[in-house]
Amino acid sequence: MSLQMSREELLHTYKTMRTIREFEERVHTEFATGEIPGFAHLYAGEEASAVGVCLHLDEKDSIASTHRGHGHCIAKGCDPKAMMAEIYGRKTGLCGGKGGSMHIADVAKGMLGANGIVGGGAPLACGAALTAKTLKTGGVAVAFGGDGASNQGTTAESMNLAKVWNLPLIFVLEDNGYAEATASAWSVSGTPVKRAAGYDMPGVQVDGHDVFAVAEAAREAVERARSGGGPSLIHVVFSRYYGHFEGDAMTYREKDEVENLRRTRDCLNLFRERVGEAKLLDAGELDAIDAEIKTLIDEAVAEAKAADMPDPLRDLETDVYVRY
């Protein structure tokens, strides 16, 4: 796989992946303190997918995401500080504290929402693609979904609908090996690429630890979509570093599975190695980004903690309808 990225793209890619990683590692530690309410499903280890795909998108393009949505949000341009505040349930959160981790959205940025319903996003992405097609905006849409979601009826229906309507849509199937405690090797019969072929849809499997591989596959699929060539599927194979949600003891995984992965297949390390070998960026530049992001996330947490909670009297019953 070639490293066809401009210097700017390389920096953007690394910085975005690092932002996601730092964000998620920090949510992990903060969650353990008990201060973050509710659930959190972390994307650490999977950064290359969101970033490799969203590299080719701009604000006229839309994505629909999943319960494990922080990475997609950041890659699609959501403000990490507003996201952190949302996760803490603050009034300053991206959704005013009403949505929380599982419902972060920024429709103006084309981020149509994390989603608490497995498989819930694919039909919505069809709709965004239909808007792009109908209004001839030149936009495309991406439906992110997990291996678990790939079995859900909505995914199959959406693949057929996207094909029949010839929508500018990319299905990104993020196969992190598990749906909760169930292995994708068991729950997904056949293969996603063969399933795509069942709908006459181009499909390709890529190594999800390698952002260049993801980006290359996404470039092709996005170009196909933009040029009227219809939907595609990308089967991204990788792993999550943390439990299904924070608190999951992961008894179903090999003891050293994650440790090994972190050591040998980490997308950020692999990126550093690859750009180092190819002498495209130097380590100092990347270290500087790391430091910058660390500060950003420190601030995000501090600001979130300092921010006000929504006011029950004023905020509870607003935003249900535009007008009622």
């Binding site: 419902h103 819930g120 069809c126 057929n160 309507w165 535009v322």
Partner: protein
């Protein structure tokens, strides 16, 4: 103004709104018809012909046939609504909501709230409801109480061709998701309908009769039965107000309460299954907020707690009728009455 059928009124509303706003699109199974088939283009115009002619005018880019995948296309409608279109999606029979409810109640209905007010979802789901069609248990349900229960949805139930056109145009221009219930028994009903576009505001009840003894609240096709009952009762000397709330969400409770304050008696007529339905919803709110004005027990008229039967003999017995409404009104008149202020 001219005589039009309920079907024509709905068709005309869509025609005029699609003409007015290029972002309005229509989708559903065979709403155009004939995709991929050798025969003529506008073969069907919907299973009961309600969308007939639209594809001829607006083309297949704006009148989209779909595969039979309600989750995908109702969800696509929701996704298109938050990204700039104003979709009307036909969910043929409301009974089919079971295969796509998630996209309606967890997605479309909740976007705005979950996203902190930063989304609008101008989606209309047109759907058929109601018994009497000999269509049996899976094609005859009313189910609007289920949608009324869900915060974030609006629910409209037109009771005449005039109401249908005005309420549908309002629904299409509304920025929130609206579930629009069409009683399948009414498509051939005729009434005076203005030729030009007009709106009927949501949440404003219509009084089709005004009386002093009993307030009858009814929805959709039941409004006609309530009117018939009121006419018959008038001959017995019982004078009824008939309230058509038009929308169950938002509900014009104020008007209902005012009518009950005047009459002191309430009968609610609902075609939906009797538990947790609109009859209980309204009866309970009145018993809470206008209790002091009630002279007699509230009464509810609804079908029995059974699926809708197929056989005509059973289905006819299943449905509320004008006679049953009259009986309920007489019961409230004959019940031990109580003095009110």
């Amino acid at each position: 103004m001219s005589k039009k059928s309920f079907r024509q009124a709905i068709n005309e509303a869509m025609h005029q709104e699609m003409e007015r706003d290029p972002n309005v699109i229509l989708m559903g199974e065979d709403v155009a018809g004939g995709m991929g088939a050798p025969g003529e283009e506008d073969a069907w115009g919907g299973v009961l012909g309600v969308t007939k002619g639209l594809v001829g005018t607006y083309g297949r880019e704006r009148v989209l046939d779909t595969p039979i995948t309600e989750s995908a296309f109702v969800g696509a409608a929701a996704g298109s609504a938050i990204t700039g279109l104003r979709p009307i999606v036909e969910l043929m029979f409301v009974d089919f909501m079971g295969v796509c409810f998630d996209q309606i109640f967890n997605q479309a209905a909740k976007f705005r709230y979950m996203f902190g007010g930063k989304a609008k979802t101008p989606l209309v789901v047109r759907t058929m409801y109601g018994a009497g069609f000999r269509a049996a248990s899976q094609h005859s349900q009313s189910l609007y109480p289920v949608f009324t229960h869900i915060p974030g949805l609006k629910v409209a139930i037109p009771s005449s061709p005039y109401e249908a056109k005005g309420l549908l145009i309002s629904a299409i221009r509304d920025d929130d998701p609206v579930i629009f219930f069409e009683n399948k028994m009414m498509y051939d009903d005729e009434g005076e309908v203005p030729d030009e576009a007009y709106t009927i505001p949501f949440g404003e009840a219509n009084l089709t009769r005004e009386g002093k003894d009993v307030t009858i609240v009814a929805f959709g096709r039941m409004v006609n039965l309530a009117n018939q009952a009121a006419d018959a009762l008038a001959k017995e000397g019982i004078s009824c107000t008939v309230v058509d709330p038009r929308t169950t969400s938002p509900l014009d409770l104020d008007t209902i309460l005012e009518c009950v304050e005047d009459t002191g008696r309430l009968v609610v007529v609902d075609e939906a299954s009797p538990r947790c339905n609109m009859a209980t919803d309204i009866a309970a709110q009145v018993a809470q907020d206008a209790f002091a004005h009630l002279k007699a027990p509230v009464r509810m008229v609804a079908p029995p707690h059974t699926p809708v039967p197929f056989s005509p003999s059973l289905e006819d017995a299943y449905l509320p009728t004008a006679a049953k409404i009259q009986e309920a009104v007489r019961m409230t008149m004959n019940a031990a009455q109580r003095e009110v202020a």
